[in-house]
Subunit: 271 residues, 2 copies
Amino acid sequence: MQSDEPRSASPTHQGWLRVIGLGPGDPALLAPAARAALSEAEDIIGYRTYIQLAGPFRDDQRVQDSDNRVELERARHAFQLAAAGHRVVIVSSGDPGVFAMATAVIEALEQAKDPAWSAVDLQIIPGISAAQAAAARIGAPLGHDFCTLSLSDNLKPWTVIARRLQLAAEADLVIALYNPSSHARPHQFNEALAVLSAHRKPETPVILGQSIGRAEEQVILTTLAEIDPKQVDMRTVVIIGSSQTRIIEAAEGRHWVYTPRWYPETGKNED
Amino acid sequence: MQSDEPRSASPTHQGWLRVIGLGPGDPALLAPAARAALSEAEDIIGYRTYIQLAGPFRDDQRVQDSDNRVELERARHAFQLAAAGHRVVIVSSGDPGVFAMATAVIEALEQAKDPAWSAVDLQIIPGISAAQAAAARIGAPLGHDFCTLSLSDNLKPWTVIARRLQLAAEADLVIALYNPSSHARPHQFNEALAVLSAHRKPETPVILGQSIGRAEEQVILTTLAEIDPKQVDMRTVVIIGSSQTRIIEAAEGRHWVYTPRWYPETGKNED
């Protein structure tokens, strides 16, 4: 039996593991299924920032927040507790299935080859991802074919990232970029912009979404030519329009951005 | 003043328009913000199937369902009512911003150039899209870079679709296909498979998600070589793995599918 020396006696009921996404952070966008899992959980595990958004918790719930970003360790700890009979929730931001904890959880399961872990009642509860939340605030930039790429080269080589950007640009897909920039690699976002600028017009709409659904929310509408990389950090989602993405002005200077459902009949699909 | 001859006297309060997504259909995955909009609405507009999932409604709420698929007409009708002071909800499936009603709504707004429409308090409330819901059921196939493409050629030429598939395959992105097949164009899904098979191994995992979150839900795990096009219709979301997507077997013959966060260090990124 796996055990993590739980601080209380092992419960007698069947344990389970739920991997939930908080969505963008606004409780009004949190799925009731995720809310229910948080309420039923005995152990809540996650990165401190997300745990704070998910709370408050009751005294009988054990909250195991951490500053560490070692997702696999967190996933293993969760399986140990669940296999020992605990009801465990792993808290992720956005959608746990999009650049978040669900992948690490299945990876931990595969590596362990532990029948007790394999038998754990595991459910992944999807959530609204950052790009969707930012898109909704400004209109419908993801209204047609799009791709979702992470610029982080922690776990994949930059050559793969650059090639994917290049091909996505050629395909004239709207592009949502996660983890666009960090202190460790400020130059890479500029490299990404250079790749995209070779295929898209300078006036291509670009949306920067920050902390959507939270008090400090910011949605910045700019263009490929005018984007200020200083406004982009690891917590920004960047949406870059296709050749068809349009900006329209509504009352009181409000702008909406959308990518039409139609595509012009033409032999070429890039500018 | 725009008016659609409302059946009751025009209300005196400020009208608004909310474009909501039902998510996959399971109320446990419906955002509280969307639920609240449905409760506060005076007029609920949408395609009949989605209206039925969104209900029941009160006697004082006007439900305007339709069989017609003319999204622009529905959007115009909603703006007319909202500009006349009604609280109006347009119901979409999944995420209204992903191949759904939000784009048609902004398109209607742009075409009308009507200051009364432009001044309408318009909000788009995001939802969980079909690909996310299907992915969560089977693990984390969208756990790394992916794209979301519609195979419908109603509004874009097939040449554009085929080229996007080709480039997405070269980029080794996981690919989520919406509107993959219809009676009107059964051959196109086979063409899409042919394009993808030129770049991906026969054993590439493929997930078919149908009616996720509803009673008739089905998630089928198959491979690129073994996929049965007869199991694919307009209401299926098809997720095709990248070269890295993995299938693992858990207890009781259950299978999980995930796309790792890491990518091998290599000069080539396709097979």
